[in-house]
Symmetry: C2
Subunit: 344 residues, 2 copies
């Protein structure tokens, strides 16, 4: 198994991706290819104690870097020698089994769609982060790859999310919920009402396990295995969880710092507080696969640490080896609208 890592993507590049990649070689037994500016990568390797490329590590130079200022839709074409473009081309050519990048989400999505292509029949790729909820973990799909939704996209997201939950989270029969503003089938906008019908039908045919609409509140504090949404709503949902968790953590911190007594408690409960923090830590999961793309592409969080890159590499290995892409490919026919006229 060989994982291609964009060494120039993310706030802490190239040190964090390089260190994460080295740990992946050591701890996961994979090989890695770093793409990016050779001098910068070699400098990071030196800072980590390596004068030369260690066993299992390759370096493919790329002179350019795609930044957040680049137009996501054009970046991949404008910067042909970027670490991201070079990495995606290596994946296309079969020089590696999966690609990990913490660079611009939009550029990665455009690049993956243009270079690697979607699985035949899949209308849109989706971002499917695993988020902590009361059931443990929930696959949210789509968290913002495609803002506009269609009933068919949502049906495809439900299938793709189910395969991912099955293979990656080990859930035998993933329960799929539709993110909505009420439980009844009539709730929501036209999009949700139409998607509800398609999901119900797929459930009746035994292809997915649809448990109905689920509100934002229950989606977090009760949870399902797969939460289906258009990208706009999914992104609002995800960012709101992040914001609330951050805000409450700050309030909790203030609480622990408010008096001498509470400071002593904070000290006494150090491990418990760390455990709570870990439960909400994005680095534990690693990254977000671009489901629907025909080869494994993993988006790591922009602020990824070396540890987060290690986990993203682990996730890349999982997506590459577990048959998720084969599952989706084999079942595309069940994810289409009956009437091709309606399929946008």
């Amino acid at each position: 198994m060989k994982i291609i890592i964009d060494a120039m993507g993310g706030d802490q590049a190239p040190l964090a991706p390089v260190e994460g990649g080295l740990r992946a070689v050591k701890e996961l037994g994979v090989e890695v290819i770093f793409t990016g500016q050779e001098l910068a990568i070699r400098d990071s390797l030196k800072r980590l104690g390596h004068q030369d490329l260690p066993q299992g590590v390759e370096l493919v130079p790329a002179s350019e870097v795609i930044t957040m200022e680049d137009n996501p839709a054009r970046a991949f074409k404008d910067k042909k020698d970027s670490s991201m473009t070079v990495g995606l081309n290596l994946l296309k050519e079969g020089r590696g089994d999966a690609f990990v990048s913490a660079g611009s989400t939009g550029a990665l999505l455009s690049g993956a769609t243009l270079v690697i292509k979607r699985i035949r029949g899949i209308r849109r790729a989706a971002l499917a982060p695993v988020i902590p909820t009361a059931v443990g973990n929930t696959v949210l799909i789509d968290s913002g790859a495609t803002a506009e939704g269609s009933p068919e996209y949502l049906l495809q997201f439900a299938f793709m999310g189910s395969y991912y939950a099955k293979r990656f989270l080990g859930v035998q029969e993933p329960r799929v919920g539709l993110l909505n503003i009420g439980a009844e089938p009539s709730k929501g906008l036209d999009l949700q009402r139409a998607a509800y019908g398609l999901l119900q039908q797929a459930d009746q045919e035994g292809r997915i396990r649809f448990v109905g609409n689920i509100e934002g509140r229950e989606a977090v504090c009760q949870g399902v295995d797969v939460l289906v949404s258009d990208g706009f709503t999914g992104n609002i949902f995800l960012k709101t969880i992040e914001g609330t968790a951050l805000f409450m953590s700050q309030c909790m911190k203030e609480m622990f710092l408010s008096s001498t007594k509470s400071k002593l408690c904070a000290l006494a409960m150090k491990n418990e507080v760390a455990g709570l923090k870990k439960r909400f830590d994005a680095a534990e999961i690693g990254g977000t696969p671009l489901l629907g793309i025909s080869k494994p592409v993993i988006k790591a969080h922009g602020s990824s640490s070396a540890y987060a890159f290690l986990n993203a590499a682990r996730q890349a290995r999982e997506v590459a080896s577990s048959g998720i892409i084969e599952d989706i490919t084999a079942n595309v026919e069940y994810m289409r609208l009956p009437d091709p006229e309606k399929a946008k």
Copy 2:
């Protein structure tokens, strides 16, 4: 000032609304009218130590109760002698200055729209709860009164939310943000892009203070004074905050119960934990006004305690006395689309 209270609405009715109403008479110096089943209300009064109607308290009997099982759009017409319908008619006739109900949101919205009517020129009423954020408090408008959005609705929500933040929260120049999935004006769906233009124009004319798009994360952990959204997205946002706050509270509770040491800390930090809890407690705010209705109608939370009803009555007094409805009425002409053809 006389507040009409639906004594049959909410999980703890009639005891909680009756007790809350009595506290409002005592603590706020207002008069109240209870609507609902006479025997049940008198029984609650007796349980609170009153054999007769105390000074400042009236009772207007209504034999029916609108439940969550009733069709919201029809409930108001089907149950003409319900506590909600009778209350709204009293408000219409000028027998009271504001109406508070913890009953079905949908039924209250339909009833208020049909009996009290919207302010002339206002296209849709909106629910505008005050939510705790890093800036203290944010008016979210709309949190779900109207699922479907239009750019003009959002423009009107921005104005109404601003007047409410000014009068109710005492913010001089409320900063208005548009809930979206990115900061750039091009982000979001057609709805957000069109609304962005209208809000920017209103800002340039000096009528509101529009600070741009705001993502779910920043909306909570940085915060604006008024957060504008279509009802679908606003409802997802609100419920997700509630769910995350509840989930994290449960995790925190588990943390404090995990060992003898942490249990001792929980005991030692009792007041601090209570303070944190209070900060996120919906009862502190009271209820949610139906902005855009031509008289003050306040929706109290279904689970409202007596204390929550007291705060809802306080809020009703505020909406009735502070000139919010007059503000909206006087400025409706600035909240319309230039081309009446586009106004849906």
